[in-house]
């Protein structure tokens, strides 16, 4: 089996079978990561450009390691928006880079839809590493992978995503992926951080955290940004922590064998208390490990790979 598209722009519209294929392939690569020599020749001769228009530590290193472990050639490019605005357009920049003969582009950009825009100007495969508040598909996939690893199947799980849903691409990719795989999803956060008609995405919507957590298996905690307070969306981070912060007291409402997830970076003491983040139910570091395997799988499959890898 192969993926239908040459690009990975989001999890919206990706079928259950395709997600299954990516997760199965990632499982094989995860095994590679456990070996003493963590490298395979799979993408030898393939050139990947990592275009990061927005700061990133985790995702960027994760992609770089995935590329290196597949023996791909890689080039990194990062730019601040301001310098780009003054100079050449994004289209010119990427056209120039492509003229140097590349095969794949990993892009992170603060504007939603930019990866789609690149598919219109380039012939390379495009992988979305996060576009504005739109999607972050590899994050969604690694979250699915982490849950499948622990529970064996995703279908039937009750997942609550807590925090700034409005500005979160992680939330959107998770909603699409989880729904496709048969999980039931709820979102919870202050009403000012809830996007318009989010319920139409087929999720439960809560502004009371304790209600949202009742009977849930998984809590995916989103980072809350300080700027939201300045923008008038939140009175204070203190109040946010009181109303929406995940602490050990609140975990009592969850099902036994529950899971705490966080896409990082964590604001300890704001959206999550340290004892929960570091506690036995947290899979936060597993998510990071699995991120490399997922990105290896995506790179491999988009470069034309089929099913199982040697």
């Amino acid at each position: 089996m192969k993926l239908k598209s040459r690009h990975l722009l989001g999890l919206e519209g990706i079928s259950k079978e395709e997600i299954g294929l990516i997760l199965d392939t990632a499982e094989t690569f995860k095994e590679v990561l456990e070996r003493p020599i963590k490298k395979v020749p799979t993408l030898r001769g393939v050139t990947v450009v990592n275009l990061f228009y927005e700061a990133s530590t985790r995702t960027r290193i994760s992609f770089e390691l995935a590329e290196k472990r597949l023996s791909a050639e890689l080039v990194n490019f990062s730019a601040s928006t301001s310098s780009v605005k003054k100079g050449e357009t994004l289209k010119d920049t990427v056209k120039n880079i492509e003229a140097m003969k590349i095969d794949m582009v990993v892009i992170r950009h603060q504007s939603a839809g930019t990866p789609y825009f690149l598919t219109q100007c380039l012939s390379s495969s495009i992988i979305n590493a996060g576009d504005g508040a739109h999607e972050h598909p590899t994050q969604g996939l690694l979250d699915l992978f982490t849950l499948r690893e622990k529970y064996k199947k995703i279908e039937g799980l009750k997942v609550v995503i807590v925090g700034d849903i409005k500005h979160s691409r992680v939330a959107r990719s998770n909603i699409w992926g989880l729904k496709t795989m048969g999980a039931s999803v709820a979102v919870c956060g202050p009403t000012t951080l809830m996007p318009y008609e989010i319920d139409k995405m087929g999720v439960g919507v809560y502004s009371n955290l304790d209600e949202a957590l009742r009977g849930a298996d998984v809590v995916n905690v989103l980072r809350i940004q300080l700027e939201r307070q300045k923008g008038g969306l939140l009175p204070s981070l203190r109040e946010y922590a009181n109303e929406f912060g995940i602490n050990s007291d609140r975990l009592k409402r969850l099902n036994p064998n529950f899971t705490i997830m966080h896409p990082g970076p964590i604001n300890r003491g704001v959206e999550i208390t340290p004892e929960v983040a570091d506690g036995p139910y947290s899979v936060i570091l597993d998510q990071v490990t699995n991120g490399v395997a997922i990105r290896m799988a995506v790179l491999y499959l988009l470069s034309g790979g089929e099913g199982k890898v040697e």
Partner: protein, 437 residues
Amino acid sequence: MNKKTSIEAELIIAGGRIIDPASKLDKVGDIYIRDGKIIKIETKKLIPRKKIRFSPEIIDAFDKIVTPGLIDMHAHLREPGREDEETILTGSEAAVAGGFTSICCMPNTQPPIDNQESVKFIYEKAKSAKCKVYPVAGATKGLKGEELTEIADLVKAGAVAISDDGRPIYSSSLMRYALEYSKMYDLPVISHCEDLALSSDGVMNEGFVSTVLGLKGIPGVAEEVMVARDIRLAEFTKSRVHIAHVSTEGSVNLIREAKRKGVKITCEATPHHFTLTDEIIKTFDTNAKVNPPLRTKKDLDALKKGLKDGTIDCIATDHAPHSIEEKDVEFDAAPFGMVGLETALGLVITELIEKKVLTWIEAIARMTINPVKILKLNAGQIKVGMPADLTVIDPETNWVVEPKEFKSKSKNSPFGGRKLKGRAFLTIVGGKVAYQS
């Protein structure tokens, strides 16, 4: 046929279905033109078709619809300042190709049209244009929203309205003064209704589609709170306000109620707002990025209802040319606006007349006599003595929008590839053929 009249006429539009909303005329007839004016309208003794074929001064309008020249009260012609995107000449070429014989240009040029000299500049340039061009002048100096322009001077130079279009007059007190002051000259204030704090850095309608796409939304209330403000100010000052590009159901309802109360308010809707919804943004097409943004089906239906019941007086294009370089960027970085002069009539026929939203006479009224009443232009009627500004429409022709073929310098249209029915066959400005398909 009266032989004498026939000889005297320089041009005759013969055998077309004449639709003149002002006189409620809807009959097959011949229109005689001389010295740029309509000299006779004959609906009884028509010129036989056989004769038409052999007379160069007679235009065969058989199977065509003849209307007063269409009027677009809202276009951006970009001159002075962005002549790479449009000029008064190229804008007028696009206008006549779209069936328009008079257009109003908005003042947000570089520099803006905010003093007598710049109004004169527009009229000077308009002399060589293909259609009549009427400037709307700025309501505030530099369109900065701080001080009123010299409105008396602007009126003397020929400004037909004042507006800061592209931006609202954000200060409520300055809006009040603009309304009060322009009342001395019975000049309408055209208001771009947008609460900038609510629209903020939004790029599309705030709704389910923006939620899915993660693009920053512009809520409908950003328009509606300003419409509500302007209604109260117009009522209080007893002045005339015209709301530009109404886009939401809420605005239509507010205006309907205000009209019922007798407030001197008029408004317009654009073809793109009554044709497209925010669903089109799903492909991140920057040509569909426009302000106010494309809304939802509910809003689109409300606009149609408002057009039908007369709440919405006019159809205007908000023709906003942008260069390819400006639009060929990521969605957030693209400017707002789309061209509209060459698709408006086809969209009106296809979306409103063919779909039985409006009758021909209702649709044409909203593109002729209604804007004329607001702006007090000497146009918009088929009547003896009036300037011979006429549009001959081929209502049956099916065509596909091809932006590359636009006369406009800019091609930023989201309608490329769309099938439309009906378009201008012939456009006559001041008795002369300005466009022939």
